[in-house]
Symmetry: C2
Subunit: 350 residues, 2 copies
Amino acid sequence: MAVVTIVGSGMMGSALAFPARENGHEVRLVGTHLDAEIIDACRAHNRHPKFTRDFPEGIKFYKIEELDAALSGSSLVIGGVSSFGVDWFRDRVLSKIPEGTDVLTVTKGLMDYPDGTLVPYPYIWQRKLDEMQHKLNLCAVGGPCTSYELVARDQTEVCFCGANTDALRRIKAIMHTDYYHISLSNDVAGIESAVALKNAYALAVALTVGINQKSFGLDSELHYNSQAGVFYQAVREMGGLLKLLGAPALENLAVGAGDLYVTVYGGRTRLIGILLGRGLDIDSAEAELRGVTLESLVVAKRVARAVRARAQRGEVSLNNYPLLMHVDDILVRHASVNIPWDDFSFEDIK
Amino acid sequence: MAVVTIVGSGMMGSALAFPARENGHEVRLVGTHLDAEIIDACRAHNRHPKFTRDFPEGIKFYKIEELDAALSGSSLVIGGVSSFGVDWFRDRVLSKIPEGTDVLTVTKGLMDYPDGTLVPYPYIWQRKLDEMQHKLNLCAVGGPCTSYELVARDQTEVCFCGANTDALRRIKAIMHTDYYHISLSNDVAGIESAVALKNAYALAVALTVGINQKSFGLDSELHYNSQAGVFYQAVREMGGLLKLLGAPALENLAVGAGDLYVTVYGGRTRLIGILLGRGLDIDSAEAELRGVTLESLVVAKRVARAVRARAQRGEVSLNNYPLLMHVDDILVRHASVNIPWDDFSFEDIK
């Protein structure tokens, strides 16, 4: 039996308590400084306020003041913060995790640098660890998984990525269940980039849903030709970007396409895409979703900024990324939605 | 102005009358020997019995007995038969099309040979043409397009493929509209294989919908983790198969993924996948859909048979295609649905 400490009691971190506990491990769920009420609720009802199922019996709940106790004796620490908590996790948590511990982060995202380099969060944390001369085995999870469906024990395929293969195998042994299926990859940049890229593109597919609602009414049936037309272009652009980022393996694109599929249907990215497609500008659309974390917009803008920087240096042609550029124009330049359909047509002529 | 003759008044052939006629061309829609009632209805109401919109004004309708007149002076013939009409079109229509005419077929599918070779329909027709020493410019259309949404002028992205680039450009000039967007490719095997492969995989994604209906009730909300888990594996296997078939271009996989997306949501393949997922065996599921053309099942079985033949010769490992093999077991060997989730997990370890 291992001790698994999850830091961050958001939906995804909390969902991972289920497979870990169901496998018989000791599970400690720690709320961040923003999560005190969630932890109170978990202690009172053994259920996360956003879930419809109780936690398995025996999970221990901690507030952030009790972090040291929660980390004591852990063999696996799961970082369950959103991308807005990346710095906090780096500055306040990493140094407290005992040397040599395996760490799995659910935080999906990339940072961009002015030269167009895109860096996954685990690399940013690794830099800090190197500075501190503090050794942890950083791994990350990507792939199509919504937290509430994981809690419902729906069949789910994900990929754990990290540099340390032994650590990946240990974490898989702890977390794998008959409904939570885990691939392993050393290609951290490939998996993390794939699942980050999908943010811009899921929003793009959802635009067409909003456009059709505007044309045919809010209650009209879903139309699929236009969704599929954007989905096709999204796969093309994601495949091109993964090659550009040095991560051409088919597995990366497949994980990204699966994650794109689930993100088109799940939650907030879809919602803001639909609002934009109906004709709202980005400010109005964001206002409608006030209070909701929109990591997807942050990531989409970073990826587009990086591609533009690389294009300026002649490494890539923006003509190959018309969909990403249009999403960026909508998000950053307040452009109206006007999907450049003809730009998606290619010529594969010998 | 060109003369466009469409042979076969099924939904897809008839839908292509819309962009062609809206571009100002003379359009002649010819029913096959199975379509006499459809042509009567079109003549009476200027509307296809399965569409909710009238045809554009001026389309001319022909019965099969009038085929010669309908073909006279045509610069483009569109083959609008289903895959069950492939032999009929080859034996009864091809020889009547004047030498040098451009031909576009909507028939998606592959034939398989005992050695595991998969051949798209245009190649089979080309063989006949070569025997007859009769020269036509055979092209085919692939990509995500449902006929009824094309009729609704929904934005649609497709790809025309063929060996003759000039013919591809001529046909695109006739058919392209502000809602019907056309890529061009000389990679006939790549595009036709991609859009054929999706049949097995769309059925596979739909299985999970049926499985969830069985678990949570027919009216339960859709679940996406499991759909996305199969979609991810489908993209992996399609990418692998396209490489195996000598068609590794990203464009092919993207067109196939887009077509997979639309097929998961549209029509008959989804329906039979759901029925199988609920627990019906293939005979009962087919009985429920009696009278409905299930080209997808034919194609799925052929692709699986070809892969098995290649595996016997050691060219490919069946372990890389667990999803295709499971679909084949369901369709051919009456296996119960039991998705091999753990087999979808990969190790990308350096």
